[in-house]
C-alpha cells in the first residue's frame, strides 16, 4: 500500500478519536459517584460557623473562604478574608478553580447565604478531585444568627462556653470593623491586619 494512504488512514483514525473526546475545557466529575456521595454528605465535609469564626479570629492561613454570592452582595457584607467566586461562575474557565486548590494543605470553605449553593459547589469541587473543599453549614444566615447575634444570658458560664463566647465576640468585632469600612479601605485594612505566616513558622529567608 502506498505510504501516503497508510498515513492518511492513521491521520483519519486519530481524527476520529479526537472527535469522540469531550471538548477541551469542559469540566467533568471524575470521582466515583458513590464515594463522592459519601464524602459530600458526611459531617467532615462541613465546618460550623463557630469553627469558621475561630479561623477568622486566628487569621488561619491554611483556610480560604470562598463567598459564592453575587459581587454586589459580597461588596456589601462578607466574612473577613473571603474571596468572591459567584456560584454561577464556579466552572468558568476564567475562574481557574484549580488555582485555589493548588495548595493541598489549604482548606477551601464555600459559603453563601444558606446551604444550597455551598452544597452544589462542594459536590462540584470534590467531584473534580479537589478533596480539600468544604462548606460552612448554614451559610451567612447561620453566621448572623450565631456569631453576630451572640449574647450571654445566665448566671454561670463554663470555661468552654466562655472561650466560645469570646471567639464569637472577637469575630463579630472583626466582621463589623471590616464591613463598616468603605470599599476602598477594606482591602488595605485586611492586608494591614493580617499576619505573616512566616513569622510563626520561625524560619528566615
Amino acid at each position: 500500500m502506498n505510504p501516503r494512504i497508510v498515513f492518511s488512514i492513521l491521520l483519519g483514525s486519530f481524527g476520529l478519536i479526537l472527535a469522540f473526546l469531550p471538548s477541551p475545557g469542559t469540566a467533568r466529575l471524575t470521582e466515583n459517584p458513590k464515594t463522592l456521595l459519601y464524602q459530600s454528605i458526611e459531617k467532615s465535609a462541613y465546618f460550623s460557623v463557630d469553627q469558621v469564626a475561630r479561623f477568622v479570629v486566628s487569621e488561619d492561613s491554611t483556610v480560604l473562604l470562598v463567598d459564592l454570592r453575587n459581587p454586589i452582595d459580597f461588596k456589601q457584607v462578607s466574612i473577613p478574608g473571603s474571596i468572591n467566586i459567584p456560584y454561577n461562575q464556579l466552572l468558568n474557565k476564567e475562574t481557574n478553580l484549580e488555582s485555589y486548590f493548588a495548595d493541598n494543605k489549604k482548606r477551601v470553605i464555600f459559603y453563601s447565604n444558606g446551604d444550597l449553593y455551598s452544597g452544589y459547589a462542594l459536590v462540584l469541587a470534590r467531584g473534580l478531585g479537589f478533596a480539600n473543599s468544604y462548606s460552612m453549614k448554614g451559610g451567612l444566615n447561620e453566621w448572623f444568627s450565631t456569631v453576630m447575634n451572640s449574647a450571654f444570658t445566665g448566671d454561670r458560664i463554663s470555661a468552654r462556653e466562655n472561650a466560645l463566647f469570646e471567639t464569637r465576640t472577637r469575630a463579630k468585632k472583626y466582621f463589623t470593623e471590616i464591613n463598616s469600612l468603605p470599599d476602598s479601605l477594606k482591602l488595605q485594612f485586611a492586608q494591614k491586619s493580617s499576619f505573616d505566616p512566616k513569622k510563626l513558622d520561625g524560619g528566615c529567608e
Binding site: L10, F20, A27, P33, I41, Y46, L91, S118, Y120, N141
Partner: protein, 155 residues
C-alpha cells in the same frame, strides 16, 4: 487481506489506542461530560420548588424522601418512595430514577443534603430533577448588617 497482513501491527496499535482513549474518556465515572451544562438549572434556581409548585408540576412525579426511616413521607405526594441519602447512588436506585419517565423530586430535612444529591444525580444526566423545599428563602439573607460608623481603622 494482503494489506491487512502487511500493516496488521499498525492497525492493531490504532485500534487499541482508540479503544483505550474512548474507554478512559467515556467510562471513567458515571458522570456526563460538561459539568457546567448539567449544573445550569441550579445557577438560575429553577430546580428548586416549593410545596405549592409541586402541586402544579405535571407528569408522572417520582417524589423521593431522603431520610433513613421515611420520616418525611407525609410531606410528599402519594406514591413517594424513601431511601437513606447514602444509598441514592446504588445501582438499583439509580437505575430506577433514570428509568422514571417524568419529574423526579428530592426532599430532605436538611436542604444541603437534597442540594448535593440533586447535583450528583444531575451530573449523571438526570433531567426533570427538582429539589423540594419548605421555604424558598434559604438563599435570601435574613439579617441586615448595620455598619459601625464610629470605627476608625488604623491603617
Amino acid at each position: 487481506m494482503h494489506i491487512l497482513k502487511k500493516y496488521q501491527l499498525l492497525f492493531i496499535i490504532v485500534i487499541v489506542s482508540a479503544a483505550l482513549v474512548l474507554f478512559k474518556s467515556l467510562t471513567s465515572s458515571g458522570f456526563k461530560s460538561d459539568a457546567d451544562k448539567w449544573a445550569a438549572a441550579s445557577f438560575s434556581g429553577e430546580n428548586v420548588i416549593s410545596q405549592e409548585q409541586l402541586k402544579d408540576l405535571s407528569g408522572n412525579i417520582l417524589a423521593i424522601d431522603l431520610s433513613d426511616h421515611g420520616e418525611n413521607m407525609a410531606k410528599l405526594p402519594e406514591g413517594a418512595v424513601s431511601f437513606p441519602p447514602k444509598s441514592v447512588m446504588d445501582d438499583r436506585i439509580l437505575r430506577m430514577i433514570h428509568q422514571h419517565n417524568g419529574p423526579v423530586v428530592l426532599y430532605a430535612d436538611d436542604l444541603a443534603i437534597s442540594a448535593k444529591i440533586w447535583m450528583l444525580l444531575s451530573q449523571t444526566g438526570q433531567t426533570q430533577l427538582y429539589v423540594l423545599t419548605d421555604s424558598m428563602d434559604n438563599e435570601t439573607i435574613k439579617y441586615k448588617f448595620r455598619p459601625d460608623t464610629l470605627i476608625k481603622p488604623e491603617l
